[in-house]
Subunit: 528 residues, 2 copies
C-alpha cells in the first residue's frame, strides 16, 4: 500500500468508475497501518552506521540507555530514549515499556525483544551483529563508533537501519486521499472507534486520526512523574491515617488537573477512566539505590521499607492483588480516584459548552458481588458531588470483562453496569494460561512448529477467547438490553480481529491512536 | 463425628433398624475427614509449652527450622521439620511446602500461613503470642524455652498446642466400624476413587484407605533428593548434547526404579503419570550460597550460571514456560520421561502376575495441536518398546484439562486422547485470574466482606469453573464416546465438590491419600 494507491482509488470515485463503498472495500487495512508509524524525514539523507533486522516498525530517536532503571528515569523526565542491550529477557520488560525504541545485538523476528516490541508498539531493530554492549562502562560500540549513556541515536524498525544522532522524524498524518477514504468509511460503519490514551498530547494525536472518544484511560499512568510517584509511594507505604490522608490530598490535586484537561480535550465525547489496576508493588522501588533514596525521601528506615516490600511482593503479579481487588481492600484508593475524576469533570464542565461524558470502569472482576461493592461506593460519591443535577455532566459505570469467569457470569454482572469493556489482553492470558511477558521463550518454537494458527495476542483467538466474548455479549444483553459493549485490548487494532468483533455487533472498539484509522476502515469493510 | 457414632450406625444395621444404605447416608463426610489426620498418641500425656490457633488440622513433629532453604534441604534428606516464623508471606511458600508443619507468631484462620497450610495439607498452629524468632541467631523463644535450628518440636494443628520434643504420632487408619461403613459405601457408588501420590510409601497409605489406583503421580517429585536434583540441574543447564545425554542417562536410571516400584505396589490398578509440569527455573538454585555450590558441583563458572538463571527467570511462572510447553520445546525431557516410564513398566511386568496399567497425561494444554504433537511422539516410543505385544502392559494417553481454553476446545482435544483429567487448581486460578499463592493478601478481606460464597480452592466454584467443566465433559464425550473423565485437583477431596462431580457423571476422582475415605463415602451418598 502506498499513498498513491489511495489517490488512485479517490480518482476512480471522482470518475464515477467506483462507488465510495467500492473504494472503501478495496483498501487493504493491514497495509494502511504501515503508513501510520513515525518515519524518518526523507530529506535527512543520513547514512546508517549499522543495519540489523527491523522487527517492529516505526522510527525512534532518543538518548542511549542501557538499563530498565535509566529508561524509566528518563521517561519520567519526559525524555525519549533508545534501550540498547545484547538481548532482552523478562527483567527488561519495564525498560522496554519505558523506552521509545529498542536496539539489540542478538535475536530475530520471534525473539523476546521482537515479540514484546510489537506488543507494546515500540520500534525495534534486533540482531545488529556489530553491536557490543559494555555494561560495566555503560557504553556500547556499534561498528567502529562508541556511544555512552546519554548519547543520541536513531533507529528505524521498518528497515533495520541504525543512525548516529537524533534524526528528525515525520509523524504520520491523515490528509489528502487517506482522509477522503476514511471519511467515506465513517459513513458506512456502525461501531464507534475510540482510543486508549491518558495524556492530552496522545488524545490530540488520536483526535487527528478520527478517534470518537477515549475507551481506556489507564489511571495509574498519571503517576509516572517522579514527584507523583513519590506521593503515591507515600500513600502505599503510609502506616497511619494522618500520613495517608496527607499523601492522598496531594494525589487528588495532581489528577484533578489531568482529568479536567483530558475531559476538555475530548469535549462532548466519552472519556472512559479505568480504576487503578496493577498490583501496588509495581510502583515501589526495586534496586538497592532506589530503595535507599525512597526511604530517605519518605523518612522511613531502610529496614522497615524492605520489610514492607517483602510483604507486598508477589509470585504471580498478573494473577495477584490488583484491579477490583485493590478497590475492595484499599477503599481509600477508590475514593481518591473518584474524588479526582469528579473534581476534574466539574472543572471541565465550567469552562466548556459541550457536556462532560464521564465513564468509570472497574478492572479484573470475576464476580457480580465485586461489581456491586464498588458500584455502591461510586454511586454514593457521584450523588454527593451534585454533578448530575444539571445535564452538563453525564456519568456511567461499567466493568472490564477480562477474566473467563466474568464472561461466564456476564448475566449477573450486566445487571449492575451500564457497559462492558472487553480487555482482550488479560482475557487471552487467562484463557490460554499464558503470561504475555514470559511467552517469548516458547512462542518462537510454537510458531516454527505451527502449534498456533496465529499469535493470539495480535489476532483474537476466535475459537477460544472469541467464544467466551460471544457468550458474554449474549448473556449480558439478555440480562440488560441497554448494555453497551466495547473492546479495548490490543486485538481492537488488528484487522482480522476487528472483523470478528464487528460480527458480534459491538458498540465501539478502542485502540492506540496510530491504529484508529485501521479500525475506522476495517469496521466500514465489515458491516453486516 | 466420633468413632462411636460410626459404631452405632453399624449396630443399627446389624439390628436391622437401618439398611446399609441408610447407614452410609447418615455419616457426615465432612466430619469423617477430621478422623483422617495424624494425631498425638493419646498415651503421651505431654504438657503443651504454648498454645495458639489451630488453623490447619493434624499433628506434626520434626526439627525446628527457620528458612525455606533449610526446610527444602531437610526435606531432601528425608527429615521432617517444623517451619517456625513470625508470619509467612509469598517468599515462604516453598519452605511451607517442604516443611511437615508450620508454626507462626502472628496471624489467624485467614492469614497467609493458615490459607496456604490448609491448601497444602500441612498442620499449622498460628498466632502463638509467646513466640519470638531471632533469625540472626537462628533461634526462637517459645514462652521461657529457647530452641535452635535442629531442635525437636511437635505441633497439633487441630487444637493449637505446641510441645517440646518429638512426640509419637498416631497415623489415622481405617478399621472397625469405619471400615465397615466405607465397605458398604463402595457397593453403592459409580465413580472410582484414586489418589495423588508419587512414592511407594504414600501409595501404600492410600491403598490402606481404599484407593483404587493413582490418578496423579507428579513426575517432577521424583527429583527431590540432592543427587537427583543435581543431575536434573545438569540437564537443564547443559549447553552441549554430550553433557545433556550423560545427564539424561542418569535420570532415566533413577526414575525407572521408582516407576517399577510404584507399578508393582499398585499391581493391577491404573497408575497415571503426569509429564513434567513446573517451569525449569523452579529446580534451579536461588540463594548466593546455593548458586556457588551448584556452579562448583557442575563445573560451571558462577557468572555463566547466573546469566543462565536470569534467562530462565519468569515474571508469572504460573502462566509461563511449563507443562506441555516444556514437552514441545525440550523434547529430550519428554523422551527421558517416557523412557523411564516404559522401562519401569517392563520391569514391573516381569515380576508380577497382574497387568501393568500405565496412563500418561500431558499437563497445561490449551490446543488440540499441542496434544497431537506430544501424542505422536509418545505413541512412537510406546510402539518401539514392544511392550504392547503381550497384554501384560496396557497403555493409555490423556490430557489434563486445567485451562479455560482446553474446556472450550474439549471437542477437538477429546479426539486425540483416551481420557481427560480435570485439574481444578489451575482451572480455578485461570478462570478467576487468581494466583493461589498470592491470594491470601486479599482473600481474608473477601471472606470478611462476603464477596465469595466460599473459597473456590476448597469447594469447586459451581457457577463458573463448574460450568466450564460441565461444558468440557459434554463436548468431550460428544466427540469421543469412550472418553474417560477424572478429576484430580484439591476439590476432589471436598464433599460439596464431590457431590457436584458425581452429578456430572465422572468416571473417577483422585485426591490425597487422607481424603480417599471422604471421597468413597461422599460419592456413595451422591449417586443419582
Amino acid at each position: 500500500m502506498r499513498r498513491q494507491s489511495l489517490e488512485a482509488a479517490v480518482d476512480r470515485v471522482k470518475a464515477k468508475v467506483w462507488t465510495k463503498q467500492t473504494a472503501v472495500s478495496r483498501v487493504d487495512a493491514g497495509r494502511l497501518s504501515l503508513l501510520l508509524h513515525p518515519s524518518l524525514k526523507s530529506s535527512e539523507g543520513a547514512s546508517p552506521i549499522a543495519t540489523g533486522l527491523g522487527v517492529a516498525p516505526g522510527a525512534a530517536s532518543g538518548l542511549v540507555t542501557f538499563t530498565a532503571e535509566d529508561a524509566a528515569r528518563l521517561r519520567a523526565r519526559g525524555k525519549h530514549c533508545i534501550l540498547v542491550v545484547t538481548e532482552t529477557g523478562p527483567a527488561d520488560i519495564e525498560g522496554m515499556k519505558a523506552a521509545t525504541g529498542i536496539l539489540t545485538a542478538r535475536g530475530g523476528m520471534t525473539s523476546h525483544a521482537g515479540v514484546i516490541a510489537r506488543i507494546t508498539g515500540k520500534p525495534c531493530v534486533a540482531g545488529v551483529r556489530t553491536l557490543t554492549v559494555d555494561l560495566a562502562e555503560m557504553s556500547c560500540r556499534i561498528g567502529d563508533r562508541e556511544f555512552h549513556a546519554g548519547d543520541r541515536l536513531t533507529i528505524d524498525g521498518s528497515d533495520g537501519c541504525v543512525y548516529a544522532g537524533m534524526l528528525a522524524l515525520a509523524q504520520p498524518h491523515i490528509g489528502g486521499a487517506m482522509g477522503t477514504v476514511l471519511g467515506w468509511s465513517d459513513a458506512s460503519r456502525k461501531a464507534a472507534v475510540r482510543t486508549n490514551v491518558e495524556t492530552v498530547e496522545s488524545a490530540k494525536t488520536a483526535l487527528s486520526f478520527g478517534a470518537e472518544g477515549i475507551g481506556l484511560a489507564r489511571s495509574e499512568h498519571m503517576f509516572f512523574s517522579p514527584e507523583r510517584m513519590l506521593a503515591l509511594r507515600r500513600m502505599i507505604l503510609s502506616e497511619d491515617e494522618e500520613d495517608r490522608s496527607r499523601a492522598i490530598g496531594g494525589l487528588v490535586d495532581f489528577q484533578t488537573g489531568d482529568y479536567s484537561a483530558l475531559f476538555s480535550t475530548m469535549a462532548g465525547m466519552p472519556v472512559n477512566v479505568r480504576l487503578f489496576d496493577p498490583p501496588l508493588h509495581e510502583f515501589l522501588p526495586r534496586g538497592e539505590e532506589e530503595i535507599d533514596d525512597t526511604a530517605a525521601s519518605l523518612g522511613l528506615a531502610v529496614r522497615a521499607l524492605r520489610l514492607r516490600l517483602e510483604r507486598l511482593a508477589e509470585i504471580n503479579p498478573m494473577l495477584g492483588h490488583r484491579g477490583v481487588r485493590l478497590a475492595i481492600t484499599y477503599p481509600e484508593i477508590l475514593q481518591m480516584q473518584m474524588q479526582a475524576v469528579l473534581a476534574g469533570a466539574r472543572a471541565a464542565s465550567e469552562t466548556q459548552s459541550e457536556p462532560v461524558l464521564v465513564e468509570v470502569m472497574v478492572p479484573f472482576v470475576s464476580t457480580a458481588t465485586e461489581v456491586a461493592f464498588v458500584r455502591e461506593r461510586v454511586d454514593a460519591m457521584v450523588a454527593n458531588s451534585g454533578l448530575l443535577r444539571s445535564d452538563r455532566v453525564q456519568f456511567s459505570f461499567g466493568t472490564m470483562i477480562e477474566l473467563p469467569r466474568a464472561c461466564l457470569r456476564a448475566g449477573d454482572i450486566a445487571q449492575m453496569v451500564d457497559f462492558f469493556s472487553f480487555g482482550t489482553n488479560d482475557l487471552t492470558q487467562t484463557t490460554f494460561g499464558i503470561s504475555r511477558d514470559d511467552a517469548p521463550t516458547f512462542l518462537a518454537a510454537y510458531q516454527r512448529k505451527g502449534i498456533y494458527d496465529s499469535d493470539p495476542f495480535v489476532s483474537v483467538d476466535e475459537k477460544g477467547v472469541g467464544e467466551l466474548i460471544a457468550m458474554a455479549i449474549e448473556r449480558g444483553r439478555a440480562a440488560n438490553p441497554r448494555l453497551k459493549i466495547g473492546i479495548c485490548g490490543e486485538n481492537a487494532g488488528d484487522p482480522a480481529s476487528l472483523r470478528f468483533f464487528a460480527g458480534l455487533g459491538v458498540d465501539y472498539v478502542s485502540c492506540s491512536p496510530y491504529r484508529v484509522p485501521v479500525a475506522r476502515l476495517t469496521l466500514a469493510q465489515s458491516r453486516g
